[in-house]
Amino acid sequence: MRQVLYALIPTVALHVMFFGPGVLIQIVLGVATALAAEAAALRLRGKPLPPYLLDGSAIITAVLLALCLPPLAPWWLIVSGVAFAILLAKHLFGGLGANPFNPAMVGYAVLLVSFPARLLQWLPPNVAGFEPASLSFVETLTTILTGMPPERFTWDAITSPTPLDALRTDLALGMTMGEAHANAMFSAFGGKGWEWINLATLAGGGWLLALRIIRWQIPVAMLTALFVCASVMSAADPGAYAGPLFHLTSGASMLGAFFIATDPVSAATSERGKLIYGAGIGVLTYIIRTWGGYPDGVAFAVLIMNLTVPLIDRYTIPRIYGHAR
């Protein structure tokens, strides 16, 4: 599981480049909470600490959730989200290997439902065309720990919705794609900053594929389904629906495809099952993004497909050697 963490390094690096050091603080807070919660749960369950605590799974949960939160989100968001993920979504179901839902996504969903406003407060990317308020490391840390921005700024001055969120709001207000796209946060095919982060995640995911730590079925099926849905809808009405490249390079598309949906514990297990599972996540992500009320759809798409895993597994048993086709 260590390689999964290494594969996230490009994503984190670009995150820091575009949105400042906040994500690093979120990761540290998340990992510390994850290890503490994991240790407490193992102690309560009478399990040995060393092999379980250091298997990396709790750390990955924390890092994935940290990457999903706004960089300046107050400390108690990541702490409560990770604690919920580890204690309730993982250990209450039996711990490593027994959780039916992806713990990181359960944590994210709980936070999104409980504190929607806080989760929408993203930052503008640090690219040409923007003059984002640049916070020093100390200011970033203070903001996260106190929940208040530095005195020289207001929240409105330093935050910005994500491109996915902005597009959804604008389209809901009756704008066409063209009008919405006039916003400086959009680039030729994606959102500034976000497209690079997604490409970095794609690179990390490709590395995991090459190492055979993950298999191709889920990411390919999910991204293909997302691509097909977005292509069909934007071809039908280009004024009302974003194109496929925007969807592939926005929000948590790549993170979801390579790092979240591929969590083996909560995913379907046969080759055919993985294709169905991944495609389901792709379709649901598109539906929730386009017609739902949330800024991104990956988390809920993953959780809904987690629910279907026992059913998928049951109907996709491969033909065993020596059995009739």
Binding site: P51, Y52, D55, S57, G95, L96, G97, A98, R215, P264, V265, A267, T269, S270, E271, D313, I317, P318, R319, I320, Y321, G322, H323, A324, R325
Partner: protein, 484 residues
Amino acid sequence: MATSGTRGGLRLNAHKERSTTQALRAASPVEKLVLPLDQHAGAPAVPLVKPGERILRGQPIAQPGGTVSAWLHSPTSGTVAAIEPRPAPHRLGASTLSIVVANDGRDERHAGPAPSPFDQLAPEQLRELIARGGIVGLGGAVFPTAAKLNSAAGAADVRLLINGAECEPYISCDDMLMRERARDVVFGARVLLHALAAKTCVIAIEDDTPQAAAALEAAIADAHDERIQLRRVPSIYPAGGEKQLITAIFDVEVPSGGLPADVNTVCLNVGTAAAVASWIRDSQPLTSRIVTITGDGVLEQRNLDVALGTPLAALIYDCGGYTGRMSRLIMGGSMMGQALPHDDMPVIKATNCVIAASALDLQPRAAEMPCIRCGNCAVACPAILLPQQLHWYAKARDLDALETYGLMDCIECGCCDYVCPSQIPLAERFRDMKPALAERLAARTNASAARVRFEARSARLERIESERLAALAKKRQELAKKPS
């Protein structure tokens, strides 16, 4: 059933070169030989000799105890020292009734049947003769060869597959046999072709045994027998598994629960073919076999031609003794072999390899962690099972699900264990669960047989009753017609 070739499997480090550098030689004779009566598959053999009786090399000392059973011959001349329970490797050290032969060192030979050209015998006579040689499958299953031949003979277009694909790491006895006795293998194949009235024979070997391939090619050319063909398969464990090899060579799958005979194939090990040759050509019954002695825990790693009944301890002594690094004694290869509690047990017909393993050979298993459903096992499984699901249902002892997910199709090759990142001994778990499921399947078969019987009886009773009624009605009619 058409297939898309074999699936799964692993490329493993073979560890064979270490035991194949030295030429084959006979193991040093020992004073006492222990011959378990149940060392073959099927019913135990029944002793023909009594303690104190003098016997000769090659003399039958036990006869088959059933239709699926085998003859047993004395590997040397001497006296029957005892017939008593002795620890046996196939019982993992538990005792089983054995004939103990005291070697007199004179090696006097029993006058066996006079050799006659095998192609002048009828196939069924030849099969009976093969049974007399005590020959069983030397690939590890020790199924009586004549019984296998009898069950397949008579089928139209039966084909012979001689298995020289010795896929399991560490074992090199077949490789050595093919290098040094390729002619015996080819002669044996010709005998078996005649015994089966078969028209074609494939000798299959792995593509990493070039010396064996060259020797076999030369032997086939010398035999001028166009029915015999040499084929290579990729050395991906378990390529030499019977089902996997049949699929690789003939592109058919052995049906679930079926036998190679169901796809018109008889599969026999190269060692078995060579044993058939020694018996039919030279009147030497099966009283010795080639054994690989290997592992970092023994001084000299090599192959020996060993008289059956020789204690494992004597073999180790013959190879210079244990090294200081010796930690575990294994019979078989590193994937499917079984750990033995001690070395005071004899070589039997099934003993292909003895590994004196050090910690370098077989690392102790790390602590087992929970399954994370990564699916590596499903990719490696040559039987196309989902071991991660089987594991889940084996834990729950859910026999219905185990049946659905194909537990009985597991060939226990151990590929799933090998790739498991959580160090779960999957194959062992599956092996443990099989008897419970087998019992239930047998009960169901019995129940359905009983139902068929019951339905047949009901139908018969109904028929008798309706016939009776019909007869009665007829009689009444006749009575009614009669003027009273």
